[in-house]
Amino acid sequence: MALNENEKINEIDVNELDCRDTLTFWEKFGNIFRSKSIWMLHYCTGCGAMELPPTMTSRFDMERIGMAPMATPRQADVLLITGYLSVKTLRRIIYTYEQMQNPKYVVGFGSCTLNGGVYYDSYAVISRLDYYLPVDLYIAGCMPRPEAVMSGFKKLMDMIKKGEALGWKRYQKYYDWYKKNQVRALGEVYVKDEFHE
């Protein structure tokens, strides 16, 4: 459920408490490779998915900066939240994110992930992604054009190289906080069987 005004989330500024100085030599070394080879998960959630095919194919050619689509979260490095995220999808996104291998990054597309966008008062859509998942980078726009997406990815690569994209460490460190927010958004889930909640 989207957040009520009177039920404010107890915000902590997670960005302040970065874990950057704990980088070891091997992590710094690995970051050089990680920044040049980013495999993204082919999991499209919102309308931003439409912008990815032109980004991948001939016109903008994502592969030239070393990015490639991958089929499963186990293989992928970056999770793209391409636009609005309904509560039902959020549950799956969290499951998928937790199946990814460290280090892993999250990129939020468009204004919906920033503040809800046009769905800011919807009952079924969450309005701020970084309450639930540690977002490393937002790409603004409604939707961002492929140029913006490419430039966003370049920025992400720089961040990884410098060791600034440490969302996954944040998620480990503030796991309780994220879990609390997630549970709050999802409410209680009644599971009947594989196909019905």
């Binding site: 979260p73 186990r74 998928t96 599971v191 594989e194």
Partner: protein, 613 residues
């Protein structure tokens, strides 16, 4: 103890076991273990003996004799090994078999019978012991699941037995002797006459081996026999057919006797027919095994396929292919025995051998899994297990002669075997563990032991195939073929060589390199089997999440409407039944009209032509 005493000891031991089992099942079953182990050790001591004659029975002009020879030893040691290994399972199955004491009795009777078959000096002895085995195994099979199985088994065995009996008696009429060696010498001096007897006697071998038109009993009998007897049927008794085929192709030696006959791609047509039948069996066995959901039926069809390899190898009667066929007798006995035993172990704990009802057993039964894994690697012919050596030798032989169609079947069976052996591995041992099998344990030690010994032998002869091939080379020398060249661990053939030791060594080094990479890199986090990628969906039921039924559905679709020899047999049976009904209607009808008809017919005949009769 002499050989005849040993057979008598086993047969009498069977009777003793019967009465002991009446009192105490378990004690009787352990007695079968002891007796078959005694047989194993005694038969092993006959290794270098040859030409020793033992008398079994005398009656008038006829005497039943046994003679030792190195090929008889080879077959019998394989057989006794399978029997003694499988017998360890007997004590644990006593409560599941319907008549435990009868089971123990027939188990030992068939063991004694097989020894008699292999060491027989004359055809009469061979036939008598042959029938002893057929009958005693026929009574064991219905102790499992189905009575129809033993009818099919006996029905098809009869075809072979009667063909052989006819040939034996005809040979006796013509040459006045039952002795195998002198008969064979007589036959080889008269090749035209020999062709008929060659096929008649070989037919007995083909029915036992489960070659193409006679293979239908294998899946039925193997699939329905008691779980402990299936390994004996597949690993042991089938090889009796191999022995008869060996007698006819190699001891005769067909390559020399039939040398002047029509040659098809460098083989006398008699041998080529056998090879074609073997090739058809390989293809049918492979395709049918891929389809099976019951693991025992799957292994039974794989037996059909592997019997094809044995027959091809033996029918080649040359330096390399023949040695491969002989070695495959042992390899298949070990591999298929171990596969059946591991599924007997699975059935012991879970009560089923249906692949689609099992899954994830590796966590619960690691030893059984290991035995199965080693067996299938050998069966699929992958180095460094022993199955590779024999298949490689068969390929070399086929290549040398340029038998491309047979070779096609051999390769088809080999690649196809990856498919069918993997299905039980994936469906029963790997994948999700069903909640109803959460609690099961590994089988007791005495059941693990035979499986481990069989795996050990498979690995041993995979790394040092020379140990066995040297003996086979000796057999080749005995029957007048060019022996296989072996130099330490190297096997030399005209088309190239193979050094099993270096291959194993290199494989070990490769494995070590991989292991070093693995352990240098960061340690992996262990997660549950249900924590897998599901496309974001939540799955709670391991049974539904296990892919094991209809495993090769897209491939099976391609040959769904295949012609089948079973349907042909069924049609024949139906025609016979209809003919019987016809006779019954016309001659044995209760309706008086028919009686009146026949009487009037006879009367008419007498009146019309009575004077001429």
């Amino acid at each position: 103890m002499a050989l005849n005493t040993l057979i008598l000891f086993i047969l009498l031991g069977g009777l003793v076991t019967y009465f002991v089992s009446k009192v105490n099942n378990k004690a009787g079953a352990w007695l079968t273990v002891i007796i078959s182990l005694v047989a194993l050790f005694y038969v092993y001591s006959l290794k270098d003996s040859s030409g020793e004659v033992f008398n079994v029975f005398n009656y008038g002009n006829y005497s039943l004799n046994l003679v030792t020879s190195n090929y008889a030893w080879f077959f019998s040691i394989v057989m006794v090994l399978v029997y003694s290994m499988v017998s360890f399972f007997n004590p644990y199955w006593m409560e599941k078999v319907i008549h435990p004491s009868a089971y123990n009795l027939f188990y030992l009777l068939s063991l004694g019978g097989t020894l008699g078959v292999f060491y027989a000096k004359d055809f009469l002895t061979l036939f008598i012991f042959w029938e002893l085995v057929v009958w005693s195994s026929m009574f064991i099979i219905p102790l499992g699941k189905s009575r129809r199985a033993s009818v099919v088994y006996y029905g098809i065995s009869t075809i072979g037995s009667f063909a052989m009996l006819y040939a034996i008696l005809m040979l006796n009429v013509k040459y006045g002797t039952f002795d195998i060696q002198s008969n064979i010498q007589n036959m080889s001096s008269d090749p035209k006459f020999a062709v008929l007897f060659f096929f008649l006697i070989v037919m007995a071998g083909l029915t036992k081996l489960g070659i193409f038109p006679f293979y239908t009993w294998l899946p039925i009998a193997h699939g329905n026999a008691p779980h402990t007897f299936s390994p004996v049927l597949s690993g042991g008794l089938v090889k009796m057919g191999g022995f008869v085929a060996f007698l006819m192709t190699a001891v005769l030696p067909t390559s020399k006797v039939f040398a002047n006959h029509v040659q098809i791609i460098n083989n006398p047509y008699e041998n080529y027919i056998l090879m074609i039948l073997g090739a058809i069996s390989i293809i049918i066995g492979t395709l049918m095994a891929i389809k099976q959901d019951d693991a025992k039926k799957l292994i039974a069809y794989s037996t059909v396929s592997n019997s094809g390899y044995i027959l091809i190898g033996l029918a080649m009667v040359d330096q390399t292919g023949f040695a491969g066929g002989m070695m495959h007798v042992f390899n298949h006995a070990m591999a298929s025995g171990a596969m059946f035993l591991s599924f007997a172990a699975v059935a012991y704990r879970t009560g089923t051998t249906k692949i689609s009802e099992l899954g994830g057993l590796i966590k619960r039964m690691p030893v059984t899994f290991t035995a199965y894994l080693v067996a299938i690697i050998s069966l699929a012919g992958i180095p460094p297990m022993s199955g590779f050596a024999s298949k490689w030798l068969i390929y070399q032989g086929l290549l040398r002669k340029g038998n491309m169609f047979i070779a096609f079947a051999a390769f088809f069976g080999s690649v196809g075997s990856f498919m069918y052996v993997f299905r039980p591995l994936a469906g029963a041992f790997l994948g999700q563990l069903s909640p109803k099998h959460k609690e099961i344990k590994e089988v007791p030690f005495w059941m693990q032991l035979p499986m481990l010994i069989m795996s050990g032998l498979t690995i041993l002869y995979g790394v040092y195939p020379g140990l066995m091939l040297k003996y086979i080379a000796k057999i080749q020398e005995t029957i007048g073929l060019t022996p296989l060249q072996i130099d330490g661990t190297k096997i030399l053939t005209p088309n190239g060589m193979w050094d099993s030791w270096i291959v194993t060594l290199v494989f070990t080094i490769g494995f070590i390199i991989a292991a070093v990479i693995y352990f240098v890199l960061p340690k992996a986090k262990s997660v549950d089997l249900m924590d897998t990628y599901t496309g974001g969906e939540f799955i709670y039921d391991p049974d539904k999440y296990h892919y094991s039924s209809n495993y090769y559905a897209p491939f099976e679709r391609l040959y769904k409407n295949h012609p089948s020899v079973e349907k042909f047999y069924d049609a024949i049976a139906l025609r016979f039944h209809e003919f019987g009904l016809l006779v019954k209607t016309w001659f044995f009808n209760e309706n008086p009209a028919f009686t009146v008809f026949w009487i009037s017919l006879v009367m008419t005949a007498i009146i019309m032509w009575g004077d001429k009769i």
